[in-house]
């Protein structure tokens, strides 16, 4: 607590914030607070790293990559399924696909038995591009994961999945 607030960096800010909150709002749970702050911060740093080193240089937005990634792995899909799996709105998919189609990475075709639906699929060029991009994306993921031992990595994944499948997550169904 000897730091003046202006001198704090983000990590010491978390400690400082938890201390002050305990003093002012004793009803808060400092462990849950630290969990929320740290998790949010780490995820932001991860996405920023992916976006700035892998995807922006290829002219893709983070959302654009997510669409390509889902189509790459889950094969040709109707637009609404892409939205669900990528965690975005149907309107966002619609807008992103407009660009991806113009760039020759994705095709839009009619589905046989439902004239409302649109089937999205990667083109050959799209497949090649996303394969190459994910290769590099995963290299960055490995660089992050390397801070932990294999055993720690396993433990961390287990805990994150436990949170993801817990009751709080079920109550907050994001864009589903």
């Amino acid at each position: 607590m000897t730091d003046r607030p202006a001198d704090l960096d983000y990590l010491s800010f978390v400690d400082y914030a938890i201390g002050k909150t305990q003093a002012e709002l004793p009803a808060t749970d400092p462990v849950a607070m630290r969990l929320g702050l740290t998790l949010h911060r780490l995820a932001g740093a991860l996405v920023y790293d992916w976006e700035s080193t892998v995807h922006r240089p290829r002219g893709w937005s983070w959302g654009g990559f997510r669409v390509l990634f889902v189509l790459w792995l889950a094969g040709p899909l109707e637009s609404r399924h892409v939205a669900r799996l990528a965690g975005m709105s149907r309107a966002a998919v619609s807008a992103l696909v407009k660009t991806l189609e113009r760039d020759g990475l994705v095709t839009r075709t009619q589905v046989p038995h439902d004239r409302r639906a649109v089937q999205l699929a990667l083109t050959e060029a799209g497949h090649t591009a996303v394969t190459d991009a994910y290769q590099e994306h995963n290299t960055r993921e490995q660089a992050w994961a390397a801070s932990l031992t294999p055993s720690e990595q396993h433990t961390l994944i287990g805990l994150l999945e436990k949170l993801t499948t817990g009751p709080a997550a079920a109550a907050a169904q994001r864009l589903a």
Copy 2:
């Protein structure tokens, strides 16, 4: 792998995606891949929960709350320090504060020895509002954390902080 892609939900998509990627790109690290996917997904669900249950109902954006939160805990601060601690650009702080000042939650004053700088501080109303909001925000954090035992919570925080302070994080210094 018996599921057809269209039937996948997000969790089974992760399993499916990892299996397919291993087949197509053997050089990928499946553990790092699962870590990245799960961490990103969980953080998105968390922020969505906070924003939709606590902050949007109060008329605040997620960014607006982050500015108030930093000012609440780190006292009066110059604009650039708020940007750094809240993890956003100086321009974003400038824009958000315009609204917060109009709503009577934040004041902008000159700092004595530097006529360029602007000191930001919470008003009485701002202090009350953010205290009340964070109370509820932390209640949501507690609901999430309750999926884990205290020991698991401690372990998870330790692993997240290890990632946050590791070399990969140092290389990707987000917005400053």
